[in-house]
Symmetry: C2
Subunit: 292 residues, 2 copies
């Protein structure tokens, strides 16, 4: 695959390093890049020494990742459709879906004592990608959406998605915050607040921005972790506001959840799986327990 070689070279900034990474020799990589450039009408894709993408190369690079992702998604989809249902179960889930998943797993383990289950916590995008590429049988993605809208997931090809649960939206803030005693808040009134962005836990920046209705958020802090504990610590310390389901604040007296009054906003959890794939007995059981 010439594209994969190209991305490896561009990423590592070295023909030799890319060759080592892919199990080739330097000259083979050199020839592959030359072949790729030739197949595109002789357009140079990389500056040499130092190895940096050209303008055209940068364009190609931007297409390469989604292209490779969809290719592996297609491969995984075909293999799922043809293969036997797996006897193990791998689940990728957002942190916000963990309580519900944990409850289902609890029931499942009693019904299936010998359950071979692996759980990974990841951002919603990563959950969808893992399901698409066949890295797991089930995914639990949670996102902040307007009522009827689909979850804002990356386009990884067709996936089966079933709504598991919805939560109303609250703003989490430290207990000593001036707004902490309010009964409700309108996000639209908080456009100038300092927001705490947690794309790997809750909503990506663009979603928060849309929900708030601001063109761009003022000086936001971004938390890239996938866990709720770290995020809550930041909220408690006054790092910023964050939209989350109210139950996240339960048991954390230093954090207060104030309901958001926008009517059509919600957190929605969806169970993702291959369109026609059989997730196996364990997967089917878990899906049932999740209410899908």
């Amino acid at each position: 695959m010439l594209l994969r070689t190209f991305t490896a070279v561009a990423r590592s900034g070295s023909f030799s390093a890319a060759a080592r990474e892919l199990g080739y020799i330097q000259s083979a990589v050199s020839q592959q890049i030359a072949a790729l450039e030739a197949s595109l009408g002789g357009v140079p894709l990389l500056h040499r020494r130092p190895v940096v993408p050209t303008g055209a190369g940068a364009r190609l690079l931007e297409h390469a990742e989604p292209l490779l992702l969809r290719a592996s998604a297609a491969r995984a989809d075909v293999l799922r459709a043809a293969g036997d249902p797996p006897d193990h179960l791998r689940v990728a889930a957002c942190a916000l879906a963990m309580p519900r998943l944990a409850a289902a797993v609890g029931s499942a383990t009693s019904a299936m004592p010998r359950l071979d289950l692996t759980i990974t916590v990841a951002a919603p995008d990563a959950v969808a990608i893992e399901v698409a590429r066949g890295g797991c049988e089930l995914g639990l993605a949670v996102g902040l959406t307007t009522l009827g809208d689909p979850l804002p997931l990356p386009d990884v090809g067709p996936l089966r998605s079933v709504v598991i649960s919805t939560d109303s939206v609250s703003v989490l803030l430290p207990a000593d915050h001036p707004l902490a005693r309010r009964r409700g808040l309108r996000l639209a009134d908080l456009a100038d607040a300092r927001w705490l962005l947690a794309p790997a836990v809750a909503a990506p920046a663009a979603e928060v921005r849309r929900a708030v209705g601001a063109d761009r958020l003022s000086c936001a802090i971004t938390y890239a972790g996938t866990d709720l504990a770290g995020l809550l610590a930041l909220v408690a310390a006054g790092a910023g506001l964050v939209p989350l389901p109210a139950w996240v604040a339960a048991g954390h007296p230093e954090v207060v959840a104030v309901p958001v009054t926008e009517p059509r906003l919600e957190f929605r959890a969806e169970l993702l799986s291959g369109v026609t794939a059989d997730p196996g007995a364990a997967g089917a059981l878990l899906a049932t327990l999740l209410g899908a």
Copy 2:
């Protein structure tokens, strides 16, 4: 490209026909399909005699078109980034954008007497696809959206999009319709109405459904044409209601436009072009005249 061969075989239902179409001989196609099946772990993709996709083949087929589209989009993007700005201008536009485009073209022709311009009318999806694959320098896509939401275009890779104009939404109905004398209508109240769907002119079914708030529309008529005249004739004949900008009904006394009262709904026109591509002098002029 094995995928293209596979799609050709699946589409035509014949190895021989696909071979003729692609300029191969039958046995070459047979070997390519065999190679593709082998590369996927020996999964059969096609039933032979008659030639029909298997379950796995159907999965692959669903991935193939977007995959090939993105591949050609990537190629076009690279060539645009590397090539000279074109001296001709090809524009794909939705019918709803034609008045505005026509005005801009009128000004452009006076400023550029020797203007080499080709205009194609197409559905919004097709407009985006044409721009992405390099079939035209500029695209004008119009869609029905909620205020802050992006236009619901297919994922064809990164495109530059600039909002050109917005129109408020009306419901078009025949002048003798019971609702024709109303001052305003709520789409949510019209869930049971008979809708006239015009995905190639106005909004695709899913958008209308979302705007109306119904799970599914009752017995809708679909009009696949891209022209407004045919659609207006259907409205006048009482075939159904259709959401459109009010100006569409101007000069057509047999059709009445009643404003929709949902506040956040709008028709939005966006000018699409390659992210970093130079659309050429004519393209730049036209973009300026369009207000982008």
